[in-house]
């Protein structure tokens, strides 16, 4: 990398996080700390039925006996779980009859983020269940969806209105005993989204939730559950930005997907949590458990993620390919800059016959960041003719960053076909000069090269999200390389 490029990198790296602002809304929070009493208060504040409280308490008691995992290739100061407030709700609870009744400051926040609900409603036909801090404040398109029998609501509402579905499916993919962060989430999850697509229904629009962390020191424990009944289809979008903070904020979400016979779920994420400043101070700790179960025959689950934010990312969206002929896909772009650390990848568990999985992972490391791909392909004893293709590419920008690949294979059936390809490359000065010589600036040239590198993943995103992802990548690159 030449000296002018390094200068550009440094200059651009000093730009502030674009979405670093804090909305002043009175938050009704629980005191810091975690114990059974706090969980009871949390459950009662949310008017939850008894079964939910019992489940939370079981999860909490299990969590108490667990150890925080330390196998990931990330480093951070120990988290004091008693220093976190586990609930925060906007005090002015708006009536949901129309958007006009929503707190204007809240709407303003959405405007700043460029996710005006009005605009979304009018232009893109995207139904948005907006999660502001921990409580849903606006849900759109509900009527249209309910005509088709589709349920799309906050997790809190689902617990109250559809307890039979919650009892049946919540924790059925990620049990409360699953891992340290998933158990914590099960005990204290505040809210999230729930979607149920009935038999044979093709959801006519992309379902979408925007998350936003707001109150200081409030951990976010989102819980999302999507159930696609037989022969149904749904595409779900998740995107997020967070305000600037000095303290590290813990985010431990759980996402569960269930696809029954012939059902298909496409789950797309653009993640842009606050990554910390250029010295590595602050930023979100993103410890997420995402897992989908292809429970039925011929079912399919696709994860597509574009990860640019967070100080630390610990995330492995996975597929359990239980039904015969089921398909799991994972497409990922993970970009790290400054002092960011990412340990991300997927698990593809082949259980049924003729199951197939595809993994395309593109890591981009810049600044002093560390980017690891960690993936497991497991083929069970009875998974005849399982097939997997994995491709893990790493792109390095500058010479102070790191890229690592940890592929794990566990093959217990000799008919399996498993392919793994991995490459590591640096952005070539020759490529930059070639584009310079055609009249394109170095900043645009790098953006172009990186977007070209990620093309295979971007084409899996829904149109409007792909555009957003490209913009986001360019914004993130501004802070790293120009």
């Amino acid at each position: 990398m030449s000296s002018t490029e390094v200068n550009q990198i440094e200059e651009l790296a000093n730009k502030e996080y674009k979405y670093g602002f804090v909305s002043e809304i009175d938050a009704d929070s629980l005191p810091k700390g975690l114990n059974e009493d706090i969980i009871r208060q949390l459950s009662s504040k949310k008017n939850e039925p008894e079964f939910m409280l019992e489940w939370r308490l079981k999860a909490y008691r299990h969590w108490l006996n667990m150890q925080e995992p330390n196998w990931a290739n990330v480093h951070y100061q120990p988290i004091d779980y008693q220093e976190i407030s586990y609930y925060s709700a906007p005090k002015k609870k708006p009536q949901l009859n129309s958007l006009n009744e929503v707190d204007p400051q809240l709407l303003e926040t959405y405007e700043k983020l460029g996710i005006s609900l009005d605009e979304q409603k009018r232009l893109s036909g995207v139904a948005v269940d907006a999660v502001f801090d921990s409580v849903s404040v606006a849900t759109t398109f509900k009527e249209k969806l309910s005509e088709l029998g589709i349920i799309f609501c906050s997790m809190s509402e689902a617990i109250k209105n559809h307890p039979e579905l919650i009892k049946k499916y919540l924790g059925s993919v990620v049990p409360y005993t699953d891992n340290y962060f998933a158990s914590l989430n099960s005990a204290v999850f505040s809210d999230g989204s729930f979607a149920y697509i009935p038999k044979g229904v093709r959801c006519p629009m992309e379902l979408s939730t925007y998350f936003r962390i707001n109150a200081a020191n409030t951990g976010q424990f989102e819980r999302t559950l999507i159930v696609a009944d037989e022969g149904s289809y749904v595409s779900y979008l998740e995107g997020c930005t967070a305000p600037m903070r000095d303290e590290n904020q813990l985010h431990a979400a759980v996402v569960e997907l269930v696809a029954l016979d012939n059902a298909q779920i496409k789950y797309s994420t653009v993640q842009n949590w606050y990554p910390g400043d250029k010295n590595g101070k602050g930023g979100i700790y993103n410890f997420v458990t995402k897992r989908g179960a292809c429970r039925g025959v011929n079912s399919k689950i696709s994860w597509t993620q574009v990860e640019t934010g967070s100080a630390i990312t610990w995330k492995y969206p996975s597929c359990i390919l239980q039904g015969d002929n089921s398909i799991g896909e994972f497409y990922s772009v993970a970009m790290t800059n400054n002092y960011q650390q990412a340990d991300t990848g997927t698990k593809m568990i082949h259980i049924g016959k003729n199951t197939r999985s595809t993994i395309i992972s593109k890591g981009i490391s810049a600044g002093k960041s560390n980017n690891s791909y960690r993936g497991l392909v497991k083929v069970g004893r009875n998974a005849e003719n399982a097939r997997n293709f994995s491709q893990c590419d790493s792109l390095l920008i500058g010479d102070k960053c790191g890229a690592h690949t940890f592929p794990y294979l566990e093959i217990n059936n000799s008919s399996a076909q498993v392919e793994h390809e991995a490459t590591t490359s640096k952005i070539g000065e020759d490529q930059i000069f070639y584009l310079n010589q055609r009249g394109i600036s170095t900043e645009d040239a790098i953006g172009m090269i990186v977007n070209g590198y990620c093309k295979e993943v971007f084409k899996e995103l829904p149109m409007e999200f792909a555009v957003e992802a490209q913009k986001l990548l360019s914004v993130s690159l501004e802070g790293s390389v120009g």
Binding site: D430, Y434, L435, N436, Q437, R438, G439, I440, M448, G452
Partner: protein
């Protein structure tokens, strides 16, 4: 259009160009010949502004501007085009995307109106014919998996779209079979105009059978040691470069 005065340039601590003087007017075609290692490609790189080449002495005036003060992209926007000897591959970036971005950057710089998608498509369809470019190459990633001939043809195609004022062809004939050579040379000839100057860098005379130069220069050991008409190229072909290297011969001329 272009005036190079006493240009000295280093790579690292090694002096490669040792006092180049060259004047190129609009409408002219200049051929720069010479043995390998003489500094031909270095001259092209210095003119295009590639990193790692340090100008230690001399100046380059291009259309009244101090060329050496401009960034590589501004040189391109001012109308300098380098057809690379080894065009790089850029995976995932389509040829069309590159050209549209490049063309509109150049137009923006010049205060001209940018082309919309339809206008651009019409333009490239027309320019593709100049080098008989296969349409499938448009949507493919820049130079990725292109044959040697396709890469060179693609360079001339880009030149046809970007319409430079000064085109520098760096060993465009290397690695081409005779058919590809003819197509590429025809393309360059079709793009010849009164407003455009072309510098053809080549090791062999063969390209100059197709692209007829107005002036031929011999670059040897960092200096232009001989200049003449197109017949100089033939003489070089016949005698090789050794007679140029003989100091006695140099004195005679």
């Amino acid at each position: 259009m272009l005036e190079i005065k006493n240009l000295h340039a280093n790579i690292g601590n090694k002096e490669i160009l040792k006092g180049i003087n060259l004047k190129v007017n609009a409408g002219e075609v200049h051929a720069i010949m010479g043995p390998n290692g003489g500094g031909k490609s270095t001259l092209a790189s210095v003119l295009a502004g590639k990193e790692g080449y340090v100008v230690t002495k001399g100046e380059v005036i291009y259309n009244g501007k101090n060329l050496l003060e401009l960034s590589p992209e501004d040189r391109a926007r001012e109308g300098i085009f380098l057809a690379f000897q080894y065009p790089v591959e850029i995976p995932g970036v389509s040829n069309t995307n590159l050209l549209k971005t490049a063309l509109n950057e150049i137009k923006k710089y010049r205060g001209e109106e940018e082309l919309d998608a339809m206008e651009f498509l019409t333009l490239i369809k027309q320019r593709m014919k100049i080098v008989e470019l296969d349409q499938t190459l448009l949507s493919r990633s820049v130079n990725e998996g292109f044959s040697g001939g396709e890469k060179k043809r693609n360079e001339i195609f880009q030149m046809a779209v970007l319409e430079p004022k000064l085109a520098i062809l760096d060993e465009t004939d290397s690695g081409l079979d005779i058919d590809a050579l003819r197509i590429v040379a025809n393309g360059v000839n079709k793009l010849k105009s009164k407003e455009r100057a072309t510098i053809v860098i080549t090791h062999y005379q063969r390209l100059l059978d197709y692209i007829v130069p107005d002036v031929v220069h011999v670059l040897y050991n960092g200096k232009i040691v001989k200049s003449g008409g197109k017949e100089l190229a033939l003489e070089l072909e016949e005698k090789g470069y050794d007679w140029i290297k003989d100091p006695k011969e140099l004195i005679e001329h």
